[in-house]
């Protein structure tokens, strides 16, 4: 039986009369890699924040691991890891200090040294985070989101700014974590990545979900050759109607 890890229903969020997210339904099943894709400003980050409860939704309901993330904040966040778009850190903090700091926030955590070596960052542990390259920083932000062995991880535009080989490395790593049972909710602008990683996707535009399904289903439905073409067609079509 399929177990629903995230159930979001009818989420609405309006900023100054602009509907950032409009009647959003998202379901993510256990063990799945789910991708939320859409143009800049489509409402992806707002959707994630409404699901997590860091932004107050106007209406709708959210259920994560059968709990309400606002009322059961502590228990929910023991089980989920979050990597926000553009991670920032305190000034002059070292890699290992940030790892210690984040690990201390959870009741259980895995050895951060092990995680650093898995990502090839062992020799960077005494460096300032500000001295890391873009790719190393992104890797670190994933490590920090996974230090407490979460059941679900949210990754917002994880591979933006990575070079092709670093991106590939990240894909392999996420796939292997997923094989071990991690459920992943991601957003991305790279359709090759989405196609390679995601079991299911939803395309969002102007706050509304326009289609949901496996990447192959989405491609077939609009009769295109690749996910990128299908995506462009879907977004453009919607533009024409309005």
């Amino acid at each position: 039986m399929v177990k629903e890890f995230i159930k979001a229903k009818g989420i609405k969020k309006t900023y100054d009369h602009v509907k950032a997210v409009d009647n959003l339904d998202i379901t993510v099943n256990k063990g799945e890699i789910f991708g939320l894709i859409g143009p800049n400003g489509a409402g992806k980050s707002t959707a994630i924040e409404c699901i997590l409860g860091t932004k107050k939704k106007d209406s709708g309901s959210v259920d994560i691991l059968n709990m309400d993330p606002i009322n059961n904040r502590k228990r929910v966040f023991e089980e989920i890891g979050v990597q926000f778009q553009d991670s920032y850190y305190p000034d002059r903090i070292k890699v290992k200090e940030m790892c210690q700091l984040v690990a201390s926030l959870y009741t259980k955590s895995i050895d951060w040294r092990e995680m650093l070596s898995k990502f090839g960052l062992s020799d960077k542990s005494k460096q300032m985070i500000s001295e890391l390259s873009g790719g190393e920083r992104q890797k670190l932000s994933v490590i920090l989101a996974l230090l407490h062995k979460p059941k679900i991880v949210f990754l917002d535009e994880l591979t933006t700014g990575l070079d092709p080989s670093a991106r590939r490395q990240m894909w392999n790593f996420l796939k292997s974590l997923n094989m071990q049972g991690l459920t992943i909710f991601l957003t991305s602008h790279y359709m090759d990545e989405v196609h390679y990683l995601c079991d299911r996707i939803s395309i969002i535009d102007k706050g509304k979900i326009i289609t949901t399904g496996t990447p192959d289903d989405v491609i077939k439905a609009v009769d295109e050759g690749s996910l990128e073409e299908a995506y462009l067609k879907l977004i453009a079509k919607k533009g024409e109607i309005q």
Binding site: L52, T54, R73, K74, R75, F77, E78, I80, V82, F84, D86, S87, Y88, Y89, P90, D91, R92, I93, E97, Q100, L101, V102, S104, L105, Y106, T107
Partner: protein, 248 residues
């Protein structure tokens, strides 16, 4: 508790690396008390009350560390944590970001105490400083001063909407207090008009009580000052809670 301890250690390391807190909070007051000691030694203060210039200035120098940490360190760090979304990151963990704020206060408080102890030790060892009044009452008033100055710092952190504003507000509050309250230039030698202006500042009131208590005056004589500090603390705490946000 474990996470508070780790946060405190890291916050402290970051403060040392940042260094301006150490420079303005510890090295500066240590330098000023040394300078005062060398310049005035055990010269008697004017007014013939039987105490030395050093005894008269001691309380004011003690407050420099409190101001550097409370009016610079706390507001600037907290608003940069907000701007850099560090607080937001904490919101998606089981631990409340309030813990980080507490660690921030404690680490600054420790710096302030180190500064004050150092000033005391320098004055005592090299310049024969002796506190005339009770050290215990002095410490209690010291804590009250820390509370009120830190609450002003917290209010600045809460109302400013960027690190830039926070920096500006800090300078607007810090420098007049620093120069006019008697922390650097003795209050006694200021013209009357300036004294009146200086009197509105909580730091001036703080230094008045600390000075009085260290020179052996009765604490009862400072009820008005104590009330001013308490009211400042309460009002600033209420307002900073009201205006506090985790992100811009």
């Amino acid at each position: 508790m474990k996470s508070l301890w780790i946060m405190l250690k890291i916050e402290f390391k970051l403060a040392i690396r940042e260094f301006s807190g150490i420079l303005f909070g510890i090295i500066l007051p240590a330098g000023i008390i040394t300078l005062l000691g060398i310049l005035f030694g055990d010269k008697l203060a004017s007014g013939n009350d039987g105490y030395t210039m050093l005894q008269q200035s001691f309380a004011a120098v003690i407050t420099i560390g409190i101001c550097a940490t409370g009016l610079m360190g706390i507001p600037i760090t907290i608003s940069s944590y907000r701007e850099k979304k560090v607080l937001k990151r904490f919101k998606v963990t089981p631990t409340s970001p309030v813990l980080l704020l507490i660690a921030q206060f404690l680490s600054n408080f420790i710096l302030a105490v180190i500064s004050s102890v150092l000033v005391f030790v320098i004055a005592y060892l090299f310049f024969d400083y002796k506190m005339i009044g009770s050290l215990w009452i002095f410490i209690i008033i010291y804590l009250l001063v820390v509370l009120s100055i830190y609450s002003i710092g917290m209010l600045i952190a809460s109302i400013s909407n960027s690190v830039k504003t926070s920096n500006l507000l800090c300078s607007l509050v810090y420098f007049p207090m620093f120069f006019l309250s008697g922390a650097t230039i003795p209050y006694e030698i200021m013209p009357k008009g300036l004294q009146k202006f200086a009197d509105i500042m909580p730091l001036t009131q703080s230094i008045k009580i600390l000075k009085g208590v260290s020179l052996g005056s009765e604490i009862n004589g400072y009820l008005l000052q104590i009330i001013i500090l308490l009211v400042t603390t309460i009002v600033c705490i209420i307002l900073s809670i009201k205006f506090f946000r985790y992100e811009y």
